[in-house]
Amino acid sequence: MSAALTCRDFIDFIGDYYEQQLDSARLGEFEKHLRLCPSCESYLQSYQQTVLWGKESCQDSDALPEDVPEELIQAILAARRAAGEEPPSAPESGP
């Protein structure tokens, strides 16, 4: 019988747990520690919250500029011209 997981082991395994990559034996030990250790239970809850908020924080309209600044578009066009390319024609209407 293997020794029980420590908090350090538990936290080390959270990444694999989150990605559902713990094998069944490890998962059993992980869940046993989770039932017995309120501190690690709180840690796991806040870790999951962190990942969720991280995803949400960058996928909303307040993180998205409405338009690309016009001066940036002009700089791109100027760089194209400087590179000896033709200025852009009208957008293609289909494939």
């Binding site: 350090r8 990444g15 501190s39 709180s42 919250q49 924080s57 500029p65 690309v68 791109i76």
Partner: protein, 173 residues
């Protein structure tokens, strides 16, 4: 540029926190698009192809501009006693207020906190959790192993959790 530009610029800005770098990277990305559009394969999704070009341009800019030695992430990782217990117990996080203004503030706080992470960890967190690239693709883009991506991602999430913790831990009576 006008249709896909805002999303691509937002992706680049997340990776390049300096606005000047972001603008240059965006310009590089758009020029790449112009030069390589003939090689775009009809079976691919245009938005995915553009997204990858934007990420590549941002990473190239980051690599060129990596000026300062990176600070260690160790101080943002959990600390343990000799017996493996956490040095300081973790406590539950309070549920943040759910109004639109509070949610906006929360998102801004999380974005600022991500920006505080050391670059090599912040980049992995952004590519995996935000840009939703796979482990293998992230590893290839960064020139590191898949194992290193997994390790960095887990450490980055732990470090971000540490930065956010003082804002959300429930008051201990």
């Amino acid at each position: 540029v006008r249709e896909y530009g805002p999303k691509l610029l937002a992706t680049i800005r997340r990776l390049c926190s300096q606005e000047e770098d972001a603008r240059e990277a965006f310009q590089d990305a758009m020029l790449s698009v112009v030069r390589s559009v003939a090689g775009f394969q009809a079976g691919s999704r245009l938005s995915t192809w553009l997204h990858r070009i934007a990420i590549n341009a941002a990473l190239m800019k980051l690599r060129r501009h990596r000026r300062r030695p990176e600070k260690s992430i160790d101080e943002l990782l959990p600390r343990y006693l000799d017996d493996g217990h956490q040095q300081a117990s973790s406590v539950q996080w309070a549920e943040p207020a759910s109004g639109p203004a509070e949610r906006r503030e929360l998102r801004a706080l999380v974005r600022q906190s991500i920006d505080r992470l050391p670059d090599s960890y912040r980049t992995v967190l952004l590519l995996r959790d935000i840009e939703e690239l796979g482990t293998a693709e992230t590893a290839e883009l960064l020139g590191i192993t898949s194992t290193a991506v997994k390790v960095r991602l887990h450490r980055a999430r732990q470090a971000l959790r540490t930065v956010l913790d003082p804002h959300f831990r429930e008051a201990v009576p």
